[in-house]
Amino acid sequence: MAAPVHTEATPAAIEMDPVEYTLRKRLPRKLPKRRNDVYVNMKTDFRAQLARCQKLLEGGGHREICVHGLGLAINRAINIALQLQASSQGALQLAANTSTVELVDDLEPDDPDEAREPMTRTRNNSAIHIKVFYPDPQ
């Protein structure tokens, strides 16, 4: 979608000559940035991310938070949500939704002499969005 110009040459070039390009991954787009959104990653310490969620729910006064995980971090997002639920003695509920996130990779030619132009490629990755919330007393 982002590189309409190169559609014909792209598949062959990638398959035959992958060494010539540097693969750069762009950031995912379209992110809701509310205070109670937590984006889980695989670089930050697990306990720090869990503590952050606990803080939001207990100290931050939020009735619900949204834990997001993309790709590999799905597992960790689920783990955090289940830990929060387990440590709340059943007071918290989980509502998980899944989605597909479109990611864009840039292919930059390593050798500037060659008449190759930068290309982009899109791929899909799975994501999870877990709402962790105190159910309304009814």
Binding site: K25, L27, P28, L31, R34, N41, F46, G71, L82, T98
Partner: protein, 243 residues
Amino acid sequence: MEPFRGRKIPTLLKNVSTRHSRHCSNGGITAVNSVSSPLKLLPVPPPALKLGQEGFKKVCRTEEDSPCPFPGLASGVLEMRVKEGSKIRNLMGFAMARMQGEMGVSDGGLRQVVFTGSGRAVTKTITCVEIMKRKVGSLHQLTKLQYKVVKEVWESTEGGTSEMTVHRTVPSISILLSKDPLDPQEPGYQPPETLSALWEEREGSESSSQTACKRPLGPLPYSSFPNCKRPCLGERISVHPPH
């Protein structure tokens, strides 16, 4: 150290263990060190953390039965159990054929399918569901998360007779896809065709909470995802994090 990170088992060891697991019987195993109960978590780090280095190999891995996350479900529903090594094309080839109905059959295939996966297979499970939603269309979805208990039997490689049984808890996911409407009040329900709407839709839905928090949000919360290249840490040891 992160408390939930399972030790990565070398590939060689894994191959050995899968070969042996065929001969593994559940009876007759003397558990030298048996650790149980998933959520009343362990007082000490479980022995599995160092089993590989201490001359143990995994001989058996069984998932214990956990309650079905969809109580009202008919018994005959197709359940796709996604494993770490399952090929998506195999899973989808089978599941799509059943959902769309075989050639010549007029009933149009099954109405519902359940995908389940645990540990490192969770991502693959979601991917399968996402593919099916895109291909079939108009599917109602119900997602449930729970911990699953996996029992592993480890055996000493140094000729000794000692064996060890370890209970691990791994996160697992179960997703019900249905052509018929499901209860929208159920937590984890997702109506059809929310594929792209999910991100935008959530954006404005809770503006009131914006004022409640003191801390400013850092730039680009997803910023570390794209370069993430660390090995998958799917299965986790059941240690409770300190509070």
